[in-house]
Amino acid sequence: MLSTLYAVLFYIATILLIVGTGMKVLKYARTPAPLKIPVSPAPRTRAGVVQRMGREVTMFESLFKSNRWIWIFAILFHYGMLLVLLRHLRYFTQPVWWWVELIQPFGVYAGFVMVLGLLGLLARRIVVNRIRYISNPSDYLMLLLLIGIGVTGLSMKFLMPVDILMVKQFFLGLMRFQINELPMQPGVLIHLGLVAILMIIFPISKLMHAPGLFFAPSRTQVDNAREFRHMSAWASQLEDLPESIPTEEGK
């Protein structure tokens, strides 16, 4: 019964995540940028922009320059989470891909690293006056949700082991539209419940910073306004202005 409920929950969460995020991304992509506003110094070529964005995405370059503490915690969290997510691929692949097998031991430590990073971010949000001032309840809850996911995940590894083969059967089943039994243990149920919540709120929350990053004109535009005329659709529809100086004006 509960397994069916979780199956339905994950189908809904997956649809909302993909469709919701997809719609937002489409909206960003379709919204015109009327002017060239790269924050300079900016690359003069498309290849340069790809490099700039590559550094932003993989190294959080701007954050590194602007705030070292936030950068440290953000890097710990994001890279920890990346490894953890890759490690979780073993629940969705049969046979498990060789490199997923290879990173299994690292993935466990990455779980600790991820939670450590999140705790650092939470501590800053509470301790630093300026950041506390700009925080809303959702900002704390988002961190607590991620910490909850991390801690329940780790607890299944170290405190109350779960029958992970059953979990794997459950997800492999979902991928083939069959509903298999989940182990009825609180750790796994809470963990999966929180993950489903995260997937559902992704497109309607600040987690959209992940895809949004690729649509910020200040970083993604090429600095070539003098060489190429940049026009948006709505701006080119504007009424023409006179080419010559009106006679009553000027000299």
């Binding site: 110094p41 690359p43 701007s62 001032y133 600040k206 003098r226």
Partner: protein, 517 residues
């Protein structure tokens, strides 16, 4: 200036505060600092309602939605902020005032909170959770206050991991305010004036001609050579678009004389236009694409009317952002100009090329009374570029300065180039009603200047922005400097350049700067 202190051992040392010092937060510290609102006439001249509309709330919310559809930056920036806090200590107005609403993210949130309430799922159904709030008259007033305490300098955008640019939010907020009939006097009055006379000052062609003739006399008295400042000369090669402050304010005017000398030495024909006698484009400050386009368009008309081949911009920060980044979009295509030069070109690019070509005779020692530093103006630094290489907007002015002065020291790295601190008067804030804000906002820049004064004995600071120059001449006296300690870069050029046939007092032969120096 830095305080001279003597410690217990009798050693003298200058004590300078830290330009990055983060003040304690003081809620509401600047809540009562407001610039005057525009008169109905001026709002209407710009195509906005004269006074606050009866259904302002409805109109403002609709306008917000419209802007989100028309401007990707606005849409994406409203969605992607994670409140990480990296920007919170980057704004000179926060560092200078301690008012938390002057932290970039908090400034954005004044509008983001309303956007969330009306345009997002979470804000519609769980406003308390995401800090969403209704658009009330208090909120509108708060927008007016704090979006006119942003100089749109983009320093926060450099710090943001997602490139969120508060300037875009601030421009959008001002556009929304204008669209419901709440305009700012300083900006709207000036744009209205420009539309009538061609410049921000309201200087008519006759007065402009008289001013330029006076300056020609001054130049001839100084050099013994008839250096011209041509006006409305059809068929000239170059149309100079320069801020109207260059015609009357100090030290701007000395910069104008510098351009004239460089053009003269280079032997090019050039002209100023009385129809487009203004580089500044306050349409950018109020976020109005239409007004910005209309102001820009005058340059196209003047260029066509005069039949020039090239357009060169004088020293003006935001004008160069509009010129470099927007002009081609707003008033292009410029297929009728000579395509072998960048369109438009900055006077710094022109002078730099002239130096490289070795056509300027320069006597650096004529600037020996100054120990210089250079203030990167925000719009030049973060909103434009110069030359062919990335970062040319930092390197070209320094190259030109070093070519004409012997003593130059940069301020601390994190206060210059792309991290430069705003002068505190940009973005439509250069009005006396905001003097308190301007003095406080200049603090980080002034502190960095005090550091190089203490360390290297720097006496003067050069800039290439009319707003920066005016702002500094007003606020520098509050920080222990004289009002003429701010200089135009082309003022330094004017001092050092020796024209062919010019009588010089000194006997030592002028050195010619070799290419590439």
């Amino acid at each position: 200036m830095a305080r001279l202190e003597i410690d217990e051992n009798g050693t003298e040392k200058y004590v300078v505060r830290d330009p990055f010092h983060i003040p304690d937060m003081e809620c509401g510290a600047m809540a009562d600092t407001n610039s005057f609102k525009a008169a109905p006439d001026h709002n209407e001249d710009l195509g906005f309602p004269g006074e606050l509309l009866e259904n302002w709330q409805e109109v403002a919310i609709a306008k917000m939605g419209e802007l989100a559809k028309k401007n990707r930056a606005f849409q994406v920036y409203l969605d992607t902020c994670v409140k990480c806090g990296a920007c919170t200590d980057k704004c000179h107005f926060f560092l200078g005032t301690g008012d938390p609403k002057n932290m970039p993210v908090a400034r954005q949130d004044l509008l983001r909170s309303v956007y969330r309430r009306y345009y997002t799922f979470a804000g519609k159904y769980f406003p308390w959770l995401v800090g969403a709030r209704d658009l009330t008259k208090e909120v509108l007033d708060e927008w007016y206050t704090y979006y006119h305490q942003c100089s749109q300098c983009r320093r926060c955008s450099v710090a943001c991991p997602y490139g969120i640019d508060t300037a875009e939010i601030s421009m959008a907020a001002r556009e929304i305010l204008d669209s419901v009939g709440v305009g700012q006097k300083y900006c709207n009055e000036i744009i209205a004036k420009l539309k009538k006379t061609g410049n921000n000052l309201g200087l008519n062609p006759k007065a402009l001609r008289a001013t330029l003739e006076d300056l020609e006399e001054d130049l001839e008295d100084e050099t013994g050579i008839p250096v011209k400042l041509p006006l409305d000369v059809k068929g000239a090669d170059i149309l100079l678009i320069t801020p109207s402050a260059d015609f009357f304010a100090e030290p701007h005017i000395d910069g104008l004389l510098g351009y004239a000398k460089v053009f003269h030495a280079a032997g090019v024909s050039w002209t100023i236009s009385s129809y487009a006698s203004e580089a500044a484009n306050f349409g950018m400050f109020i976020g109005s694409y239409e007004n910005m386009r209309e102001v820009s368009w005058r340059i196209r008309q003047a260029a066509k009317d005069l039949g020039v081949k090239r357009i060169v911009f004088g020293e003006c920060g935001h004008a160069w952002r509009v010129g470099y980044s927007f002009l081609n979009t707003l008033a292009g295509p410029f297929d009728f100009l000579d395509q072998s030069y960048p369109i438009p070109q900055h006077i710094m690019e022109f002078t730099s090329d002239a130096i490289d070509a070795g056509i300027l005779k320069i006597d650096k020692s004529r600037n020996d009374e100054f120990i210089m530093t250079y203030h990167d103006s925000c719009n030049v630094a973060r909103g434009s570029a110069m030359g062919r290489k990335e970062g040319g907007q930092f390197d070209l002015p320094r190259k030109v300065i070093k070519a004409v002065v012997n003593n130059f020291h940069d301020m601390e790295r994190d206060t210059i180039r792309e991290n430069t601190f705003c002068c505190g008067g940009g973005g439509g804030l250069l009005t006396d009603d905001l003097m308190d804000l301007r003095i406080k906002g200049a603090k980080p820049r002034m502190t960095a200047l005090q550091q190089v004064t203490a360390d290297h004995g720097v006496t003067h600071m050069a800039a290439i922005c009319a707003i920066c120059k005016t702002q500094f001449s007003k606020v520098m006296p509050k920080y222990g400097y004289e009002m003429d300690n701010i200089m135009s870069v082309h003022q330094l050029v004017a001092n050092a350049v020796i024209l062919d046939g010019q009588e010089t007092e000194q006997d030592d032969a002028p050195e010619t700067v070799a290419a590439g120096e």
